[in-house]
Structure formats: C-alpha cells, structure tokens
C-alpha cells in the first residue's frame, strides 16, 4: 500500500472530473485498456477519479468514444512539484544553502570536553590543546588527532595517557594522570604495633627488632617490633619495621532481635504525578487528586528526551507514591534466634579482616527480656595483628614507651 502511494507520488498523478451520462462505461473501457484508476467518487454532476499522469493521454480517446468529457482538476506528485519548484528559485537556493551550511558547519569542531582529570586543571589541558591546534572553530580534517595526543603528552607534565575522540562536532579529550609514588614511603622509620588484643602465636621479623615473644599476651597499640637496626659499628639506625605477627584474637559480637516488629507494608493505594520539564519550567501533565498519604514510599522516574546522542533539555518526570501502613508482626522464638545469629555473623564479617582464620567459635543465645532475643558470637581467630605506626619525624624511636603519634 505504501509502496503504491510512493509510486503514485513519484510518477505524478492527475485528478479528473468526468461529466456526462453513464460514466461506468468509461470506467469499464479504462479497465479493459489496463488503466488503473483510484479514489473514484460519484458527484451529482459526474465522477471524480485519479490516475497516473502518463495515463491521462491514453484515457482521452476513450472518453471521446463514450461521449463524456474529462476535465483536469488537479495535478499532484513529484514531477509537478519539481516543475513548480523550478519557478521558485529563491526557495530552492535556500534549501540547497541550508544543506550545504549544515554539512559545512558540522565538519568543524565546536565543543571540547576534558574528561578524567583528578588533580589537574582542565583549563591547562584545554589551553595546551589550543596551542596544538585543537580549538573550537577548527576544521575537523585539519587536525591530526594523534599528533595532538602526542603533543599533549609531551607538553603537559603528569599525563600518563591521552585519547581524543571526535563525536559530531565535539572533541573529547580523555586523560589519565600519572600517579606519583612516594618513594620515600618505604624509608619512613617506625614500629609495628598490635592492631588488637591477642596472644602471640608466631612472629617472623623481616626488619627491626622483635619486642615480644610467642606466647606473650599483647594489648592493642602495644609495640611488637621496633624499627631499629644495629649497625656493625654498634650504633643504632631507625628503620621501617616489617614482619608478620601471627596472633590469636578473640572477638565478641552481639546482635539483638525483638520478638515483635513493626514493619511498613504497602496498602495498594498509589498516587501518581506526571510532569514535563522543559529547561527550568515544569508543567504538570497529569495529577490525580492528592489523597494525602500519611506514610508512603516515593518512586521517581525520569525520562529525558534524546535526539540521537544529543541530550535534550526536556524530560518527563513521573512520581509515584505508594501508601504504606504500619503492621505489627511478631515472630516466634526460633525465628528470632536464627535472625539474631544471622545478624551477629553479619557484624562479624565486617569486623574480621582479610586473612583472618577462624579457629574456634561459640554462639550463645539468651533472652534478656521476654520480648528480646540476644545472640552473642565469640570467635577465636589467628591473624596478622602487626600494624605500622610511623615514628615522629626527626626523633628516632627510643626504647621508651611509644608516644601517641599520628595513627596510620
């Protein structure tokens, strides 16, 4: 159907009016001569029809034969439009100019974006790019992107990688900054102290002097390995203590679960508000009567309009409120126990560090109040409890008690 309409339009068609008696005769003649007709309408003074412009010539002798008279009423379709357009030179020139302008303007760069800066200034990169020829108003083909990338790497210190992509009339400069490693960090002298209370199992000292022995009980913050090194000449140098100190650590976590809980459940009543946002202007599209829910959950949906990859400053916002009502729910003892234990283990997972090995665990469930269940989980783990604490700058660590210094 669409193809047929398109063909009619492309080939051009004419509307005719056939007057006279018995136009059916003419229609049958047209049929027999293979002339397709369409949109036939009977009028009080004749018949209207449309046919292909080229067929009109063929129809003329048939019309005479039947004694009817055809009158051309309208011409339509591309061939006729072209003819008409030929007379409107200004319009054609304007349309042509528009296409040319659009094409030309879209082959320039109009926007430059810098992505990936963390500590660097975007303006610095932009100005460097400008010097290298990447600036708004430049013809895209005149810019060698790879050259600009290389140039930026050379010009701007601290860049690890630069990638430039063109998207329409926008150039996107993506950069990655160099991460400057503090080489001095390895040389900061300091001690290893205990991260938690525990019982020393085993210790491997790689640098420094051990202060504790296996079997010793240590408290949190106590020095385990001193950052000291004895030189062959008998003097002492401050170094960074380093080692693995395995210790047993006991940890207790407690979780409580009430037997009666108030939760909020949806009642099923909802309220919806649709707004259209055009730039800073908001228009309410549809709004039910506000039922004034006392408690509700709100869900906001945003549907921004896009024209291809270009975001448009128009968006539809749909706010839906779901009414909630409080519901008391009581759970039985067994369920509460399970939940309390689960909660306790969840907490434990946050307390334990990577590399901790649970050696033993004990779970105690009690009911301190009739409406409360408490789970207490005690775990014994072996883990590395050494934690580096830098010594205060300039003062080499003495064998005096550790000063409270900047915590790591």
């Amino acid at each position: 159907m669409l193809g047929e309409l398109l063909t009619r339009y492309l080939r051009g068609y004419v509307s005719i009016k056939i007057s006279g008696k018995n136009p059916e005769k003419l229609l049958n003649l047209a049929l027999n001569h293979g002339i397709p007709l369409w949109n036939l309408r009977r009028k009080h003074d004749g018949l209207e029809a449309q046919l292909q412009a080229a067929h009109f010539r063929k129809l003329r002798p048939l019309v005479r034969k039947t004694g009817n008279r055809p009158r051309l009423q309208k011409r339509g379709g591309l061939p006729f439009q072209m003819k008409r357009l030929g007379k409107r030179r200004g319009f054609v020139a304007g349309a042509f100019l528009f296409v040319v302008l659009l094409y030309t303007l879209s082959s320039f760069i109009w926007f430059i974006e810098v992505n990936g800066t963390v500590t660097m200034d975007r303006a610095e990169i932009l100005s460097a790019a400008r010097e290298l020829g990447l600036k708004p108003g430049r013809f895209q083909r005149m810019i060698e992107l790879e050259e600009v990338e290389r140039g930026l790497l050379a010009r701007v210190p601290g860049l690890a990688w630069v990638g430039i992509t063109l998207s329409g009339t926008k150039a996107m400069i993506k950069i990655v900054e160099k991460k400057i490693l503090l080489q001095d960090e390895a040389r900061i002298p300091g001690d290893l102290v205990a991260r938690a209370d525990g019982l020393i199992d085993d210790l491997i000292v790689l640098n420094g002097q051990a202060v504790v022995v296996p079997g010793a009980t240590v408290r949190e913050g106590q020095v385990l390995v001193r950052g000291l090194k004895e030189l062959p000449d008998g003097s002492v140098e401050a170094v960074k203590a380093y080692g693995i100190i395995k210790a047993r650590v006991w940890r207790t976590v407690v979780a409580e679960v009430p037997l009666e809980k108030t939760t909020e459940v949806p009642t099923g009543r909802t309220w919806r508000l649709k707004t259209l946002k055009i730039g800073p202007i908001q228009v309410i599209l549809r709004k039910g009567r506000d039922p004034g829910f006392a408690r509700y959950d709100e869900l906001e949906e945003r549907k921004p309009f896009r024209l291809g990859p270009v975001p448009f400053p128009v968006e539809i916002r749909i706010v839906t409120r779901y009414e909630l009502r409080p519901e008391k729910r009581s759970i039985d003892l067994e369920e509460a126990r399970q939940e309390a234990i689960k909660a306790a283990f969840f907490q434990l997972g946050r307390v334990l560090r990577e590399g901790s090995v649970v050696v033993e665990r004990r779970i105690d469930v009690s009911q301190p109040r009739p409406d409360l269940v408490r789970a207490e989980v005690v775990v014994e783990t072996t883990e590395d409890i050494g934690m580096f604490r830098p010594a205060l700058q300039g003062t080499p660590p003495e064998s005096s008690p550790p000063q409270p210094s900047a915590a790591h």
Partner: protein
C-alpha cells in the same frame, strides 16, 4: 452455463484441493468490517453511485449497498470499495 462443465470443475476442485476461484472463475471477495470490500476476478462495473455499486461477474452480478461508497482503486485485477457497507447480494 453448461451443467457438465460445472460438475467436472467441482469434482476437480474437491479432488485436487485447488483454489476454487481460480478453477471455476469465481470472484474472490474479502470484506473488512463494514468499511471495505475487496474484489478479485471481476468483469466490470455496471453501476456506481454512493449508495449502490453493481459489479459484473463471470456469472451474474454482485450488488453492494451502503452509504457514501467510493472506489478506492479500480485495477484490472482488483477492485476496492470503501464506505459504509450495508449489504452484499448476488444477483442473476
């Protein structure tokens, strides 16, 4: 209308499951709602007015009654009529 031919062709159609309208030269008519009638295998137009269209068939004629009838397309192989259709009837 020869009786013998009708018998043979009916026998051929039933036996070989051929499309009836092709073998027996019958019109194929499709109607969409009360708004459109499409006709294949017709012979010509007998009468065309907004409330009645009469179409010549190989055998007899078809009358379409309705309101505001117009011929959407008049092609040698196919005829489409649009408008408010009230009824179709076959006449000898």
């Amino acid at each position: 209308m020869a009786r013998g031919r009708g018998f043979v062709s009916r026998w051929v159609v039933d036996g070989l499951e051929l499309p009836r309208e092709v073998v027996m030269d019958l019109p194929r008519i499709s109607i969409i709602g009360d708004g459109q009638v499409k006709l294949e295998n017709y012979r010509g137009l007998l009468e065309f007015s907004p409330d009645l269209v009469r179409i010549k068939l190989a055998r007899g004629e078809l009358a379409i009654k309705g309101d505001g009838l117009a011929i959407k397309s008049l092609f040698p192989e196919e005829l489409t009529i649009e408008g408010k259709i009230a009824g179709l009837s076959f006449e000898e």
